[in-house]
Symmetry: C2
Subunit: 200 residues, 2 copies
């Protein structure tokens, strides 16, 4: 583990952060993300507006936390996968390390927020772009790029997986499931659809 300290300051910081997130998510689920102002959040959490923006750089960060910076974590997980594993499975497994970082209920709540708020959708996609840049080189090392320009193949593959994951998540939320295994299955269905149609 990196940089996780147990000094009083750090523990306090994490506790405050959690309290703010709890208060904010409650408000977001009640009134919607855009309809909730930062002032309401800080009032509910008992923190000053100025301090809030030191804990969370943006309002969207309440929802996504440090997820955007977890590219290296996914990369490490990807490197653990055997070299001869199909890239799709390897990426799927690598990405699933993130789903262990939060309760399924909270994940579903966040998912619903994301699909209903343009601002959150945008941040979500930005996050994927960040991951793409981190993961693309390792993907290209695995699959080879032939004479394609560096980056093209890797980014296309990672973006495809993330797109299929997003489409699957939308369908998953839509059908009101709360079973992570079902999400995995839907992702596989989406990837299979892409595979099936690429051969035609």
């Amino acid at each position: 583990m990196e940089g996780v300290s147990d000094r009083l300051w750090d523990r306090t910081r994490r506790r405050v952060q959690e309290e703010v997130v709890d208060a904010a998510l409650t408000l977001f689920l009640e009134q919607g993300f855009e309809e909730t102002t930062v002032d309401q959040v800080v009032a509910a959490a008992g923190i000053s507006r100025r301090s809030f923006f030191r804990y969370f750089g943006t309002k969207e960060d309440i929802v996504f936390g440090d997820l955007a910076e977890q590219g290296p974590v996914i990369l490490a997980a990807l490197r653990e996968r055997p070299d001869d594993e199909p890239i799709w499975d390897a990426l799927g497994h690598a990405l699933s390390v993130l789903s262990t970082r939060m309760s399924p209920e909270r994940g579903i709540a966040i998912g619903r927020l994301v699909v209903t708020s343009p601002a959150l959708r945008a941040a979500h996609l930005e996050k994927h772009l960040r991951w793409q840049q981190v993961l693309a080189p390792e993907v290209e090392r695995r699959v080879g790029i032939g004479d394609a320009p560096p980056g093209l193949v890797g980014e296309a593959i990672v973006a495809t997986v993330l797109a299929c994951l997003d489409a699957a998540t939308a369908a998953w939320l839509d059908q009101g499931s709360d079973d992570l295994e079902e999400l995995r299955r839907l992702t596989y269905v989406a990837l299979a659809a892409v595979r099936q149609r690429t051969t035609s």
Copy 2:
């Protein structure tokens, strides 16, 4: 053609719009998108701040215009393609109708702006989501969805094509090409990479 009128008001409106875009793009290319304020743009274009926001709902709209609303145009082009054409080619051709709406030089300038500005990237991706929702049903009609939930297959396929197009565009801008045929080739390479790896 729909709704394109030649009343004086409409012609004036289009002319003003073009002038603002020209002035704004010049500023954006000089100083960057985020570093240019709307006040600078309206000063350079000789229009009031208030009127600006009636012409362009957001600052990003200067760059993208009504591209986000062109989903139906792409859809119409997709419907023109023969039913037995592979979905990838059909989508590629349908999307290419948009590249005829602007000069290649301006397209390249905009492309460079988009890759260097997070706000523009986000708007770009939002735009793709809008297109996805419009195109997905027709895609699913063509390829069939088996027993997958409606939307999943179509959105996955459209998102994959757009992702490959984006990756190809990035590589294309990177290599400093200005040949649209080369962009088409790179898109094909990206899609081929996805295809190749889906069979393993």
